[in-house]
Amino acid sequence: MNYLNFALRNIRRHRKRSLVTIFTICLGFTALGIIGGILNNIFSRLKEQAIVTEKLGHFTIAKPDFFEKGKINPEEYLWDEEELKGILGILKESPDVELATPRLNLFGIASNGESSTIFITEAIVPEDDHQLIKTNVDGRTDRKDISLELDRAKSTNVAIGSELSSNLGLKKGDYLTLLTTTKDGIANAADVDINEVYNTGNPANNDKFVLSNFYLAQELYDTKGAERIVVTLKDPENRTAVQEKIMAKLNNSGYKVESRTWDQLSLTYGKVKTMFSVIFRVLTIIITIIVLLTLLNTMQMAVTERTREIGTIRAIGVLRKDIVKLFCIEGIVMGVIGCLVALPILFLIAFVLKTLNVTFIPPVASVEVPILLILKPAKIVPVFVLFCVASLVSSFLASRKIARQKVVTSLSQIN
């Protein structure tokens, strides 16, 4: 007996009702696809912000406990010149490493001569940073090159956050005085040239951020070493394995180090992702329940209308389990059709959004990014499966009672 053919004919038989059900499934799938696609885009942009704009690379290496206690007693976690050279040498030899660049982080008071405010600076090696900016994040490499002059002689050039710039009334080309301490706690200061004013992309630090030259920071801090090394990889998909391999190699070479990935270090990525993932899950549950109830209603109506027919085919020789099977196939077919119809709609919406180039400011970011639907099989396939399961469950629930009913009772049903 070809139950699929039988199920398809029964779906066609109640065309309007089936279409409404399929439309509901399609709508639910499209809604989740859109939300999931936009979230994928937000996550991808936040990832890009963390890796490139926050300059965290794929992972960061430091001395053990630096990430927990480094801010209290930073000089204790500094590598000296020799250590830094040794570690960088090992990293740069690794075929998996794209970039390994030293970093220093300083903070203090920034002044325009009349007023002052706190600043934090990430000290970067300009030539490395130009390379970091071109890091491939989810297929994107083309982005605005906000960095510092490559010329070592111009190590007093800095780029500052746009809010810091407006708070101190400074613009590109102005001077700024940075007051900080050396590693031994002695006050030290430098006059720097503002080479660039830019939005850091992170509202939490846009009013205090100074991107400074690593060699200037070394002078200010009175060190030849660094506190961290940021690493980017040629194949970030394989990050966990490569990271473990590199860490093992460094530790075996006598360098006691530990590492943190960009998502562990980013102030916002993890929290935002968790929050949106929870929202997405709640929406998925709500929409799945709506789909399940719609299908349950449809199947319940079909079962009620076809009670005599069910009695007839039971009398002819169809087993109880096959009655349930028949309705389950009908439910799954409607579920699959609804999802399949939704797929081209999703791709069309994705195409339209890409063409229109509509932008928005993602949460905890301060720069506009395009609204795009990033449709990943990893998000679509589970929703597809979930809807099929919901279709199956609703059909099962609707048909199991009628399948158990006595044949004579089903046959005596008056429609």
Binding site: M1, N2, F6, R9, N10, R12, R13, R308, E309, G311, T312, I313, R314, A315, I316, G317, V318, L319, R320, K406, V407, V408, L411
Partner: protein, 228 residues
């Protein structure tokens, strides 16, 4: 004279229903023996227990008391799945309102019971076509039930009951939804099949014209056999 084999026995069969809180005794300690090749009509007024008796013989209902045996096998000992398979293989049922499956064509309706026996579609359809031709519907094989007349639908229903070559065909008021001429055609068709294929037929009717044309008649009244 060929000695007939006992096909079915009903021993002390009773059936009680509840209509709300009211207890209705539809059949009361009925004993009956049906032999293979019988062409038997069950007569009686409405509410006499004809349909209940046929439902029990069709194994689509179970007795409150008593035993039903098919070729010595007590139906009580069979599971629901075994009874369903038994119905498919040994019993053909013709319903008062035809009960054809609306989404299937005439030939597909007839082939349906055979396909449940895992017969190939080709084989089932071929046999269904032959039987439909035999009952005079060779021209209507691919018509949906909605495009057939009452008499044609009942012929399809008979063909569906016949296709598995069952030991017994049970028909509950097969002519009640038909005009008297078509009704007689259906009875004559059943008679013809009984004589040519030796298929056992049991059917109910309250139409005197139909009953007058049948030799073996059981009359029921208030759930009891009053004449056989």
């Amino acid at each position: 004279m060929i000695e007939k084999k006992t096909l079915l026995t009903l021993s002390g069969v009773s059936k009680t229903y509840f209509l709300g809180s009211q207890k209705v005794k539809a059949l009361n300690k009925v004993d009956l023996e049906i032999s293979s090749g019988d062409f038997l009509a069950i007569a009686g007024p409405s509410g006499s227990g004809k349909s209940t008796m046929l439902n029990l013989i069709s194994l689509i209902d179970t007795p409150t008391h008593g035993e039903i045996k098919y070729a010595g096998v007590n139906v009580k000992d069979l599971t629901d799945n075994e009874i369903t398979i038994f119905r498919n293989q040994k019993i053909g049922i013709v319903f008062q309102n035809y009960n054809l499956i609306p989404v299937l064509s005439a030939i597909e309706n007839v082939a349906f019971p055979l396909q449940l026996q895992k017969k190939s579609k080709k084989e089932s359809m071929k046999l269904a076509g032959e039987i439909l031709t035999e009952v005079g519907l060779g021209e209507h094989l691919n018509h949906r039930p909605s495009n057939l007349s009452g008499g044609q639908k009942q012929r399809v229903a008979i063909a569906r009951a016949l296709i598995t070559d069952p030991e017994i065909i049970i028909a509950d008021e097969p002519t009640s939804a038909l005009d008297s001429k078509t009704g007689m055609e259906i009875i004559n068709l059943m008679k013809h099949l009984n004589e040519t294929k030796k298929t056992t037929f049991i059917f109910s009717s309250h139409d005197p014209k139909v009953i007058d044309n049948v030799q073996s008649v059981i009359t029921l009244q208030d759930g009891e056999i009053i004449s056989a």
